[in-house]
Amino acid sequence: MTANTGTTVMTLLQALNLALTEEMERCEDVVILGEDVGRAGGVFRTTDGLQAKFGEARVMDTPLAESGIIGAAIGMALYGLRPVAEIQFSDFIFPAMDQIVSEMAKFRYRSGGEFTCPVVVRAPSGGGIRGGHYHSQSPEAYFCHTPGLVVLAPSTPEDAKGLLKSAIRGADPVIFFEPKRIYRTVKGEVPNDPDFTVPIGKARIARAGKDVTVIAWGAMVHTCLEAAEKAARNGVDIEVVDLRSLVPLDEVTVLDSVRKTGRVVVASEATRTCGFAAEISALIAEEVIEYLQAPIVRVTGYDTPFPYALEHVYMPGPDRVLAAVHRVKTF
């Protein structure tokens, strides 16, 4: 077995680091920029060792300005580079909102396809680290609501590597949400092949089941898998669909699962109102309502700022998922 055909067990963080390393080795146009990504290797150590390996010109510690980071990345990409910009926490993406929403997302369209900016924006997101309002949020819905952006949210080391590589090689700007709570706790087999990629726009059946479909993405997938194990002990067979790619969305996999089970729970850490869970629910209601045997139930964060001391109440845990499963199962 050559190094290119096997797999290696690693954490999500290591898988991301490996993806960045391989892509920088493959293509000189790939550059990394952000706060603390160089000398320190990122506050989460995602870019550890990359500046030592590829030099300060390709791995840049920028001044503290997210609009500068994203704006500069757009310019680099317009010129032909493949920038991977890090936003230290997804909570700090908002100073760059104008560059992302008004500029990055619209360049292709407004230039008749003449100018494109395939920037990858990596942003650790989600709660569960006792980070309070500003180190915990899940802001994916804002970006899903913006045409022109690809929005990815992997939950396993294999998908983290494969999707990040697809993002870097792809033609469109990508917001890449990393589930920071499970950076180091989730381990898995990752293909060694430097050309291994995971296609954008394909969901994954994380656990096959026949009774209830539970749809999730990012760290919440693991909460749902935990719930599924508990449910199995009580004779309920849950299918967990890991979306991986929010935009574009794998409607086929989602709708097929719902046709099979007729009962759906959509689980997300983000606030409820106008969250991406609502979009999934609407899609299911529009397309396959005749298969539904119960209302679609959402399990989400509450419509409040992300709290500190009561984080454990705010974050949907396996029991909240199970309560929803119970509701759709006994309707």
Partner: protein, 371 residues
């Protein structure tokens, strides 16, 4: 680290390495000196104790300010009771100096009922309407345009109020810093921008943050004076802040103070500076302890004797220990605090969520799975 700031270019009162004073010592009463010194000792004491608590897992996070006590207290002590503070990460000492109770300080760090903010924010986000200090907001530099707005409002109403907007050197890169200075200049708002230039923004050294020769020069572009001060010299900080304050009170508008200091420790309790900082290349002058420099002055001028200092320290320690015991014993916030204060009154959809949250948690215990 070749290029932090050259101490010869900075406003100074307390002698440093043979460099002379550039300005006269501010006129302060012995009591004012004692209060400032006490607060500096308190900030240092809390720093040491809280980092210990963090390592013991009793608090989740702490942002130290060791080495920056002169900058914090020298500037903050100029604020009068009616003045407003918009802080960055390292200005809890300003609130404490102006009467923020230690029980509330600890309550915030523990996130319990003693915290005026009801345990909602990460540690270090102290806030108190009683001392007119809003909370640090994690998103860097957002407080600065707000400080300008508050200053404009005070001016509009004819109030005798000056607003202090604090920031770090890293914050000067954010757009909010630039628009705040621009607005303040145009409006001649009574606001002081007080930058603690501690040489670092997490792992990013000053010379990677800006190509300008320090922070103070940036003021010129916005039509206000910029003053670069030896930030480890509490009397220089006090004198420069007072000068800026007096200007603002005369209606002459904003100023930018650059307090040149040094972040001795990690960025926070989560940070290990040995990963990125070469301790051998740290400029020697920044490590001369600001507390010792002040102590030497106080002794030489017979303001605080060694015996008096011992009494002050002992009193601070027993107050700290007592407040800590009280605060650590306080209960966590009630469940409904998750849902209150989002809006003035709880709207129907949130009310429903609040009611369901109770039933959800009742199902949390292992084995309570309802199927």
């Amino acid at each position: 680290m070749a290029t932090h700031r050259n101490p010869a270019d900075l406003v100074r009162v307390l002698p440093l390495d043979g460099l002379p004073a550039t300005t006269a010592a501010p006129q302060l009463t012995a009591q004012q000196h004692r209060d400032m010194f006490r607060s500096m000792l308190l900030v240092r004491m809390l720093d040491e104790k809280m980092l210990l608590l963090q390592r013991q897992g009793r608090i989740a996070f702490f942002g130290p300010s060791a080495g920056q006590e002169a900058a914090i207290i020298g500037s903050g002590s100029v604020a009068r009771a009616q003045d407003w503070i918009f802080p960055a990460l390292r200005e809890a000492g300003v609130a404490l100096h102006r009467g923020f109770p230690l029980e509330q300080y600890f309550g915030q760090l523990f996130g319990n009922v003693l915290d005026p903010q009801k345990g909602r924010q990460q540690p270090m986000h102290f806030s108190s309407a009683a001392v007119h200090q809003v909370s640090l907001s994690s998103p860097i530099a957002t407080q600065l345009p707000q400080a300008v707005g508050a200053a404009y409002a005070a001016k509009l109403r004819g109030d005798d109020v000056v607003v202090f907007g604090y920031l770090g050197d890293g914050a000067t890169s954010e757009h909010d810093f630039h628009c705040a200075l621009n607005f303040a200049g145009v409006w001649k708002a009574p606001v002081l921008f007080i930058c603690q230039n501690n040489g670092w923004a997490i792992s990013v050294p000053f010379e990677k943050q800006t190509a300008s020769d320090g922070i103070a020069v940036k003021a010129a572009a916005y039509g206000m004076p910029g003053i670069a001060v030896d930030g480890n010299d509490v009397l220089a900080v006090r004198a420069a802040t007072q000068m800026a304050m007096d200007r603002a009170l005369r209606g002459e508008g904003p100023a930018l103070l650059e307090l040149v200091t040094w972040r001795r420790g990690g960025h926070s309790s989560s940070d290990d500076p040995s990963r990125y900082r070469d301790e051998a290349s740290i400029p020697a002058w920044v490590l001369i302890d600001p507390i010792e420099r002040y102590r030497d002055y106080l002794r030489a001028n017979n303001i605080v004797s060694a015996a008096e200092e011992q009494t002050i320290s002992a009193a601070l320690k027993s107050a700290m220990d007592a407040a800590l015991v009280t605060a650590e014993a306080a209960p966590g916030p009630a469940m409904d605090t998750l849902f209150t204060d989002v809006y003035a009154t709880i709207p129907a959809h949130l009310q429903r969520q609040m009611e369901s949250a109770g039933s959800d948690t009742s199902g949390r215990a292992e084995g309570a799975f309802p199927l």
